[in-house]
Symmetry: C2
Subunit: 375 residues, 2 copies
Amino acid sequence: MTTEPTHPGESPSAPAEGEWRPAGMREVAQLAGVSIATVSRALNEPSRVSAEMRLKVENAVRSLGYIRHGAARALSLRRAHAIGAIIPTVDNARRADKIAALQMRCRERGYSLVLALSQYDLSIELQQCRSLVEVGIDGLMLEGGEHDPAIYELLEKRGIAVVNTSVYDPAAAQPNIGFDNSVAARRLTDHLLDLGHKTVGMIAGPVAGNDRAGGRLAGVRAALAARGLPLPPDLVVERPYRIGEGRLGLRTLLARQPRPTAVICGNDVIAIGALIEAQAQGLDVPRDISIAGFDDLDLAAQMPPGLTTMALPAREIGELAADHLIDSLEGKPVAHATEVEVKLILRGSTGPVPSEASPLGVKNPAETRERDPAG
Amino acid sequence: MTTEPTHPGESPSAPAEGEWRPAGMREVAQLAGVSIATVSRALNEPSRVSAEMRLKVENAVRSLGYIRHGAARALSLRRAHAIGAIIPTVDNARRADKIAALQMRCRERGYSLVLALSQYDLSIELQQCRSLVEVGIDGLMLEGGEHDPAIYELLEKRGIAVVNTSVYDPAAAQPNIGFDNSVAARRLTDHLLDLGHKTVGMIAGPVAGNDRAGGRLAGVRAALAARGLPLPPDLVVERPYRIGEGRLGLRTLLARQPRPTAVICGNDVIAIGALIEAQAQGLDVPRDISIAGFDDLDLAAQMPPGLTTMALPAREIGELAADHLIDSLEGKPVAHATEVEVKLILRGSTGPVPSEASPLGVKNPAETRERDPAG
DNA sequence: ATGAAAGCGCTAACAT
DNA sequence: ATGTTAGCGCTTTCAT
């Protein structure tokens, strides 16, 4: 297999029959009839080289299929041209957007993306950070603002740029790009409160080690408190970000007394679960219960009756994160904290509080498993 | 900021007041009172070093917070300990699983994951591949088996391992791990055919440059052909993998004559869209129309009436891909093609073909936007 | 504008 | 079992 030189003009360097070795700068220089330093310059600072040389080099590069050796470059430059990202999981569509945007922007600017997952575990996150440092990253994107301080120490000592994302806090020690989760949650809650709801429940995401989840919970609580309303522990459940867990969460809440007339969910995945569960229990959304989430997943718009949610500009955050990191590496000025806009998207899943007269009992759960054809 | 040595025992190397530089092997060797080679050995092949030395080195490493310099290591070893992955997008939950599994397995085995996106474009894929080669990957995971031949040439010349995933083809030139998309689609179609359906439509994913989408379409066609049934061009629409597009696709299909009684979708995202659209049009699924997909997303199980789908073991594929690549790098024997099991999951969205007498007309699309309370 | 040569931090012969 | 040393492929002073 490896013995056939199917390709033209590619290995003028291997005289004997030995293993073919990818062409290096030396070979390029030789073929172009210039010095190795000129090749380097022609590649990195074309302007500092005569047009003639540049052409010769370009041709040699092309005909040898030369590709720079990143590790050597990194070693010499003491800059890997790589950005790391540690995220809890990839399984959320909005986070996938963020990573995609980050990757594309990095690529555009000549950086590659090394990805690591923390699974919502701060100690795994630290480990992964060490690995990334070893690989040789110049900058690191983190999710949220709650991290092992050892991470910051490590990064600072080695001059690695860092940015926390999906949180916004001008007072934080680390640069960040995002929005204030608490404020966003408060706005969402206010919407419900404006509709007359007084008994509001929450299905939060797991709060431990997750300041975004914690912030949202705090925001809901604050909005209620501002109107003299309580958020009894009874009406807060914490569930992982999965549809089935959202269903479970709502089931729990529906069993509580007093039963909430509105439920705010830690994100849309949970909210979709809650919506499905409500409908499965024969409740009409929003007539019997209002449901809202965060993220504005595609599904939020499509799923009847439409899910009211806070839209979070994930792509934008990813892009901004890449720019922040790379700008800062290039010595350009960067904002310490950048706020992106969240948007309250009103859809059919939230409505006025039910009249007092409405029955609290759950209707026959089976009957709504199939849609009524409304004939 | 950088001037405060908040940390104990960390910079015995910087005598003057200058910039602190991360400790290298030299410093470790010095502190441990051994040679630099011993440090290297203690780190890489602990067994080849006396217990005493090992301990001294370990202590020095710890107290200096030493972290290996990956680029230097890669340069010397001519092995980057990095795996690349090029995927079309991350936005599919199953693909996210695959990437997560790949990443975790790589990490476990001492490799990092460099991620690149091709956006379903074969020429972008080639570009990204070049970038990855430049970064210095030892192995590459690709999605599907349809790629620019230049990719294979490039990789082969440089001795970079490659594996195609989510496809299975023992006859293919490149190693692969996955399943036969055509066979899977055929099985799914047979299920519908067994239920008596004769007019089957398909909402395929974009087929260009995507052999998985193409294979599934071919499988549906083959299953029909095997029973002497046609798949008229009229009943095939191609739509991007988004819920809204799935809705659109179904709308198109419902307008065709004869109208299909069963629709197979390129994946679950499209299928969910189709399901939502069917219900929005007042159709009962599966009484009026059967719908099936691929992937077995969480949502497939949760969304009433439950989506019949082919479950694809994405995590397993990701894990196997990591193992295949790394095993092969380590000189271990690896299978050229590995087949993973897909599983037909029967749920409520597929059922017997409607009786001939059923009306073909579409009911009022508006009325079912809100659920009938079935009171 | 171009070339020669000294490293970047590590590993792996090759000594001892 | 441990130490010495020559590169790995590139960038970058420093000469010219």
